[in-house]
């Protein structure tokens, strides 16, 4: 079972990688986002309908594009244009399909690992990252099913998933083992699962946050590297609202998991509900930073881009808590390597 889990884990990473490649292909070759389609499609139809001999203009003036539907209505759609237009969308759909397959393999990885260890697969850092990324991927597909328009963000979601899963496999891999007595508690399920859920949603929220900043910079005329990615993404306001809603959903979950269930368990286990253990310190820092984000966003005088930067900082503190604290600071949460009480 443990080996099956490891093989499924490899399949998962490869699937997300393949999805990422497909998203990238859609991004660079396809008529990707609906904005791109809206800009490009009428121009093609206009050309097909009115002047088949004239070469396709690279950059049709906007007035032509605006009149296009009226012109296109008069003549039937040109059939040979359709497959070309759909290729990008097809690639994107394939990418989503592969992501879904990856999610199944991901679920399989967790289930087989749980069976191999005969417990919930949340006992160490490797399993924690596996679970967080699983939640991230599941939430991503969930959000996507309700808003198909954000599909191209999949490139960045799968990128984050591949990087985190790769890090889990490289630095945090731990063989299957039983739980130490300190983790024998029903609070284990409550505390760890809610923290995993919240972290997974923060992870998904990080993607539109970063894309909003890129798009916002692009809209302001910045054309250096990261901003060039903003050429073909959703409007900044949509990205920003998605960022807020994901964070507003994850924040209470994180509050419950890290700052209520965690202390309740700590009281039963260590005798005090809060002891400034490095993990607790960084959970506190993350909570304060995300609280800053929510306050900043609710304050009209603060720019949305400033607020979103705070959300990015919040995710950085989450990563610090996951990698920095587990690998560099000794503390009571040192379950990444088993041992002791």
């Amino acid at each position: 079972m443990a080996e099956l889990s490891n093989q499924l884990m490899v399949i998962t990473v490869l699937a997300y990688l393949a999805a990422m490649v497909c998203h990238a292909a859609e991004y660079s070759f396809g008529a990707r986002s609906h904005i791109g389609r809206a800009a490009a499609a009428p121009a093609r139809q206009l050309v097909g309908a009115g002047a088949p001999v004239v070469p396709v203009p690279d950059d049709p003036p906007p007035t032509v594009a605006a009149e296009a539907p009226a012109v296109a209505d008069e003549t039937p759609a040109v059939p040979e244009e359709a497959p070309k237009k759909d290729r990008g969308a097809l690639l994107g759909k394939i990418a989503v399909g592969i992501t879904a397959l990856g999610l199944l393999a991901h679920l399989g990885t967790l289930v087989t690992r749980g069976i191999a260890a005969d417990r919930m697969p949340w006992g160490n850092m490797y399993e924690f990252i596996l679970s967080v990324t699983f939640v991230g991927a599941a939430v991503w597909l969930g959000v996507l099913s309700r808003r198909p328009g954000i599909r191209h963000l999949g490139l960045f979601v799968t990128l984050v998933l591949v990087v985190l899963l790769g890090a889990a496999g490289l630095v945090a891999y731990t063989p299957v083992g039983p739980l130490v007595p300190a983790l024998h508690s029903y609070w284990f399920v409550i505390h760890v699962s809610t923290v995993i859920l919240a972290s997974g949603i923060f992870l998904v929220g990080f993607v539109p946050a970063a894309m909003f900043l890129i798009k916002n910079g692009y809209d302001q005329g910045k054309r250096s590297f990261p901003y060039t990615l903003g050429k073909r993404v959703l409007p900044a306001a949509t990205l920003e609202r998605l960022t807020f809603r994901l964070h507003a959903f994850a924040f209470p979950l994180f509050t419950f998991g890290a700052l209520i269930a965690g202390p309740l368990w700590a009281e039963a286990s260590w005798g005090r509900y809060w002891g400034w253990d490095p993990k607790e310190v960084w959970a506190f820092i993350s909570w304060v930073v995300y609280a800053c984000y929510l306050h900043a966003r609710a304050t009209p005088s603060i720019k949305r881009s400033t607020a979103t930067w705070i959300a990015i900082l919040g995710f950085a503190t989450m990563l610090m808590n996951l990698f920095g604290v587990n690998l560099f600071f000794a503390g009571l949460h040192s379950y990444a390597n088993a041992g002791g009480m």
Binding site: H184, P252, I260, E267
Partner: protein, 538 residues
């Protein structure tokens, strides 16, 4: 704060009152402090100020690491200590940040509480003159009903949807319906902030009136523990706790069972203690990690475990002493270090005088499972083939110097200055349980066996329930505040022909205003208008 009222200038205008500069400064500072920008800066400062506590070792969490840091960084450590680097969360600057933050919070939230109280008591305002200028607008449609009746049904529809609704009759037979919903958003927001205050107050009182202590408890009737400050290895009482306030109970460890995986990773621990509370009879209670022993006004938490060798020393005069010496575990396999001190050894029975040059001490390690390859560490935490490896020392143990010393190691100073000499071979002597070791002077040390010990933390925090209640209320408030949406809708119903009220036929128009960010408002507004129209016709 004073408000300046805008009135037409009185005939004889009094000279402008000059603001008191001190008052103005105070008022401006207060405004600055309670502004959102300041609150955000303070929140950020709080996050940044918390970082050093995770980087530097902290005195309350791991005092031994602080000592280690002092020896490793002799230059830097005293400076860091002076600025509170080893006790960040109790330092003045950390406290000043969160106290300023909470002052700012109170200054921001109290006026909002008053505003919200007023808002809850006032009815929604009348419809604005131009409904079509609102973000949402449903153009006028003709209805067959009488304006008053139609307005009443619309109001009923809105009330059923839990809108706070007011029906008003205006001039010329026009009726308006004003409705507002989503007050819970602000209620939740205020609840969240006041709950945070509760948590702060609870934590503060908890540290004043709470206490805790750590103790090592060896199994056996002769090694019991009664709850008093002197019996703790380490204890901390809140500033408002008197040592006589500690609840009266005694504990004896009667049994301790540990099971392990084949790899040596622990599977379970189970401690059984005999508890005597307030002079009553002893009862047997069990507890383990994650499942503390809850006593009246105290809870006992299992922190660790180990082995305590039982040693009998027969000195050169033939006098025997038997004692239990807990050895502290050094690793997960319970390789344990410790000392066995016999300060009263070699007392001449004739003179009954203690010769300080003839005190005896043993230092070494205990391995519950000695591995076949002769490694210096234990290979399994349970006692599969136990072995005690000791060096013997004779001389002045340095216990009478008055300087507090560790009971788990020998005084290295005494060894260095030659007052305490090693009297055994180069390699530590190995003792199996039941074996006897005869020293160079003919005295004997007998290893009788071991007893398990546990380390426990005994704590009392009178406000933990209050803090929990604050946290839960805060979470509820947070969810209400994040999920709630405040919005207003208005309907205006006018008679079809002006001045012809009561003769059938009316015109209904509606407008909507989201008062907070609410992307789904157009849909809700559309539904409301549709519901109002449907009700009207039925």
């Amino acid at each position: 704060m004073t408000t300046v009222e805008q009135r037409p200038a009185p005939p004889a205008a009094p000279p402008p009152r000059r603001a008191n500069p001190v008052w103005a400064l105070l008022r401006n500072s207060w405004r600055q402090l309670t502004s959102m920008r300041t609150a955000l800066v303070l929140l950020f400062l709080l996050a940044v100020a918390a970082i050093p506590g995770s980087v530097l070792p902290q005195q309350p969490v791991s005092p031994e690491k602080v000592t280690q840091y002092f020896t490793q960084h002799p230059q830097l450590a005293p400076f860091l200590d002076r600025i509170g680097g080893f006790n960040v969360y109790a330092s003045g600057w950390f406290a000043s940040i969160y106290l300023l933050l909470f002052t700012s919070l109170v200054g921001c939230v109290l006026p909002r509480l008053l505003d919200h109280y007023r808002a809850l008591r006032t009815v929604p305002p009348d419809a604005p003159r131009w409904l079509e200028r609102l973000p949402q607008h449903a153009p006028a449609t003709e209805r067959a009903d009488d304006p008053a009746a139609l307005a009443a049904t619309v109001a009923k529809t809105l009330r059923r949807r839990r809108f706070r609704t007011v029906l008003r009759e205006r001039e010329a037979g026009v009726w308006t319906v004003s409705a507002e919903k989503g007050y819970l958003k602000e209620s939740g927001n205020l609840l969240f902030h006041f709950a945070l205050l509760t948590v702060l107050v609870g934590v503060g009182f908890g540290s004043w009136y709470g206490w805790h202590g750590n103790r090592l408890l060896v199994q056996g009737d002769d090694t019991g523990f009664c709850n008093s400050v002197t019996q703790y290895d380490e204890s901390k009482l809140g500033p408002r706790v008197d040592p006589s306030d500690l609840p009266n109970f005694c504990l004896k460890l009667t049994k301790f069972a540990a099971t392990y995986q084949s790899t040596g990773v622990p599977k379970s621990f189970e401690a059984t203690v005999a508890v005597t509370q307030d002079g009553g009879s002893a009862t047997s209670r069990e507890f383990t990690v994650n499942d503390p022993l809850r006593l009246h006004h105290a809870s006992v938490h299992l922190l660790g475990q180990g082995y305590a060798p039982v040693l009998r020393y027969t000195d050169r005069y033939g006098q025997t002493q038997t004692n239990v010496f807990p050895f502290l575990p050094r690793d997960g396999m319970l390789t344990s270090e410790g000392v066995a001190l016999f300060p009263d050894a070699n007392v001449d029975p004739k003179t009954n005088k203690r010769d300080e040059k003839l005190q005896v001490g043993f230092e070494g390690v205990y391995l519950p499972t000695v591995s076949a390859d002769g490694s210096a560490t234990s290979s399994f935490p349970a006692e599969r083939s136990p072995g005690l490896f000791l060096n013997a020392y004779r001389g002045d143990l340095g216990l009478d110097s008055g300087i507090p010393s560790s009971v788990y190691s020998l005084d290295q100073g005494q060894i260095a200055n030659g007052q305490l000499k090693k009297v055994s071979g180069d390699r530590p002597h190995e003792l199996k349980p039941g074996e006897t070791w005869t020293l160079d002077d003919g005295s004997k040390l007998e290893f009788l066996g071991t007893r398990p010990f546990i380390t426990i933390s005994i704590r009392y925090d009178p406000t933990s329930e209050l803090v929990l209640a604050g946290a839960v209320l805060g979470l509820i408030g947070l969810m209400l505040s994040l999920a709630g949406r405040r919005r207003r809708v208005w309907f205006r119903v006018s008679p079809l022909a002006a001045g012809d009220a009561g003769h059938g036929g009316s015109v209904m128009e509606a407008g909507g205003l989201p008062r907070t960010d609410y992307p789904g408002f157009p849909e809700e507004f559309e539904q409301l208008v549709k519901a109002a129209r449907d009700e009207g016709t039925s």
